[in-house]
């Protein structure tokens, strides 16, 4: 996997993109946690596709996050990234917050997205099924909220470190504050920026992939997306939480 810095058409804007594999192009938009180091999901996708995984400003090393302050600017920025990569009607895969951005893009410019895959996607709000507040969740509570198998989640999120270790915790919180600070522009205090009103515009062939035990964005949201997007098909994954990309990596790649 290599990491390349591209200039987008916006003056002064640079973006980091992880790239791996060969074959048909696929763009993966990460969730509010960002990509993991040597991300296992990106690597698995690279077995079948030429994968591009852009890093949303605020998540990586580069500046440029200040100008991206709402859904419109972030969606347009991501179109700029597709243009910088020279991709035409790509297959667009988004997880959680990345799904919210991907769905927004497919609704804004229905002709510009080839296929759409939304995995455990944010972007909707149902009053009867309030989504847990990711922003006030303490680090040690995250694995249990995000993963069906909490121990596996702990191992992945903390890469073997302990969330109850003060030094590691400070380091994690600094990174978490940057990532969720940026994510908050789309998802705080409620992850709804009006997407429900625009989903009818999506024309791309759409797949929804959801963990049956998703404790953050429960399965009922998959149905809501499915009902709102014409022709969408839903694939449920048993024994799986909010992170199917890591909890059931092979199955997700197969479905994509």
């Amino acid at each position: 996997m290599k990491c390349t810095t591209y200039e987008t058409m916006k003056p002064g804007m640079q973006v980091q993109v992880f790239e791996a594999g060969s074959g048909a192009p696929l763009v993966f938009l990460h969730g509010a946690g960002g990509l993991l180091e040597n991300d296992p999901f990106v690597n698995a996708l690279a077995e079948k596709y030429c994968v591009y995984a852009p890093v949303l400003p605020g998540f990586g090393e580069l500046e440029g996050a200040d100008d991206l302050d709402d859904m419109q600017s972030i969606a347009l920025h991501t179109f700029d990234v597709l243009a910088a990569l020279g991709l035409d009607k790509p297959k667009l895969v988004g997880h959680s917050m990345g799904g919210m951005i991907a769905a927004e893009m497919a609704a804004i410019a229905p002709a510009d997205i080839g296929e759409l895959v939304l995995i455990s996607s944010a972007g909707l709000w149902l009053d009867e099924h309030p989504i847990a507040d990711l922003f006030n969740t303490l680090p040690y509570e995250l694995p249990g909220l995000l993963f069906h198998d909490e121990a596996k989640g702990q191992a992945m999120l903390a890469s073997g470190m302990d969330f109850n270790d003060a030094e590691f915790l400070t380091e994690f919180l600094v990174g978490n504050a940057r990532r969720l600070g940026m994510a908050g522009k789309l998802m705080f205090p409620i992850p709804d920026r009006g997407l429900a009103k625009r989903l009818y515009r999506i024309r791309a062939q759409t797949k929804l992939i959801w963990g049956e035990q998703d404790a953050l964005i429960p399965l009922v949201y998959a149905d809501a997306f499915c009902n709102a997007i014409k022709g969408a098909e839903l694939h449920k994954i048993p024994q799986c939480g909010h992170m199917p990309i890591y909890e059931a990596t092979d199955r997700v790649v197969e479905l994509i």
């Binding site: 922003f135 303490l138 504050a177 969720l180 908050g184 705080f188 205090p189």
Partner: protein, 414 residues
């Protein structure tokens, strides 16, 4: 020295098992714990105490803003200040303050503060806090990353609205107004502005650039505040500005009793209620991601966010609270000594005297406040003689206050 009598207005009836049963005193504390009929008595008792503080000779009486908070029952400090403006005639009304980013549009703050200044005859001290993450982000839904940009924009709008004599258009990022036209305007051309700060260089400079007072509002006492205030004064010095202590302020919990032993005997349970019950805030609410700068976070304490710490509800003892300076308590002599230490070590000309604490009954509070006013304040009054004429950071009320017909007791202490 300027002394402001301050009351957070806590709910005095939190259950004994509060910390075990509820995760936070703030944000998601169920309102079933609040009883409005009892609240009627509580509010009126607290307002009586603030009025009494004027009678005692405190320079200011202070109110502040919190939301969904059982130790701070003033979602709208301006309503409290309005009530006080009619029943007092001398003390400054220290509104510390309005979280200016939360008022929509923020011109509302310019208008309400102007109203308060006019009704009170120029007695307003205006506080412009950024606001805590609990209030600003979790209770009022401001996107954390937008908190500071919204604050800066609101500040610019309010200051301009007070200054301009003609309507103007304001094209902000968050507020767009074709006609900004502040009626009424404040009596004080530049109402004194106090900024509660938490140690960031940006806030130091913001105060120094604008000639605002920088105040540290902590419940942890003056011993722990030294480093932060030293940082501020270093900055003042480095900028080549005068070192007037009136540039700074500090909030301190204070108990005055007839003797040191009486202080513990009569006030211990109320201090315990505040420090060991009211300050129970879920750490997940303390700092919404994006609210603080990365630099501040790196320096911050994160140990309270571990599983072990969250489950831990150890009490702080009276002895520890006194020893570590969280609370200054004792006979007038004891309190004078400690207050002198506080005032000189932090170099502050403003003290926000937290004299009503936790579930303290009014009578005990009156006794302590009276002793402070009569036996402590006079001995601290002239601690900064070389800056006695510095009135940049305090009110300039009208010499002649309007008659408030029908209101008993105005100007005549009972």
């Amino acid at each position: 020295m300027k002394f402001t009598w301050f009351n957070l207005m806590p709910w005095p009836h939190l259950p004994d098992d509060f910390r075990e049963t509820y995760r936070s005193v703030w944000v998601d504390i169920p309102s079933k714990l609040y009883d409005p009929v009892e609240g009627h008595k509580v509010y009126n008792t607290y307002l009586d105490l603030l009025e009494y503080a004027e009678e005692l000779g405190f320079d200011g009486i202070g109110v502040n803003e919190h939301h969904s908070n059982a130790y701070g029952l003033m979602p709208s400090p301006n309503i409290m200040a309005a009530a006080l403006s009619r029943r007092t005639s001398r003390a400054a009304l220290v509104v510390l303050g309005n979280s200016i980013a939360l008022y929509n549009p923020p011109i509302r703050v310019a208008e309400e503060f102007a109203m308060l200044d006019v009704i009170s005859g120029g007695r307003l001290v205006a506080g412009f806090p950024v606001g805590t993450s609990m209030d600003t982000n979790y209770c009022y839904g401001t996107i954390p990353a937008e908190t500071r940009p919204r604050y800066n924009e609101a500040h610019e709008l309010i200051k301009r609205a007070w200054k301009e004599d003609e309507p103007f258009a304001f094209n902000g990022e968050y507020t767009k107004l074709r006609y900004v036209n502040c009626w009424p305007k404040p009596i004080q051309k530049n109402p004194p502005i106090f900024i509660p700060g938490g140690g960031s260089l940006e806030t130091y400079d913001f105060c120094l650039d604008n000639e605002y007072n920088y105040s540290y509002l902590s419940f942890s006492g003056y011993l722990r505040a030294k480093q932060l205030m030293d940082g501020y004064w270093e900055r003042v010095d480095k900028r080549g500005l005068d070192m007037s202590p009136y540039r700074g302020g500090f909030a301190q919990t204070i108990i005055v009793a007839d003797s040191d032993a009486d202080a513990e005997k009569y006030y211990r349970e109320h201090i315990d209620y505040f420090y060991n019950r009211c300050l129970h805030v879920y750490p997940g609410f303390a700092d919404a991601p994006g609210y603080r700068t990365i630099k501040t976070l790196k320096a911050g304490v994160t140990s309270q966010m571990t599983r072990q710490a969250v489950g831990n509800v150890t009490n702080m003892s009276w002895d520890q609270l006194i020893k570590d300076g969280y609370v200054i308590a004792g006979s007038p002599d004891t309190v004078v000594d400690q207050m002198k230490n506080l005032i000189t070590s932090l170099r502050v000309g403003n003290i926000f005297c937290l004299m009503h604490v936790g579930n303290m009954p009014a009578e005990k509070c009156r006794h302590s406040s009276k002793l402070f006013a009569e036996q402590v304040m006079p001995r601290l009054r002239d601690m900064w003689p070389e800056y006695a004429d510095d009135n940049r950071f305090w009110t300039s009320p009208l010499a002649e206050q309007a008659d408030r017909s029908g209101v008993a007791g105005i100007g005549a202490a009972s």
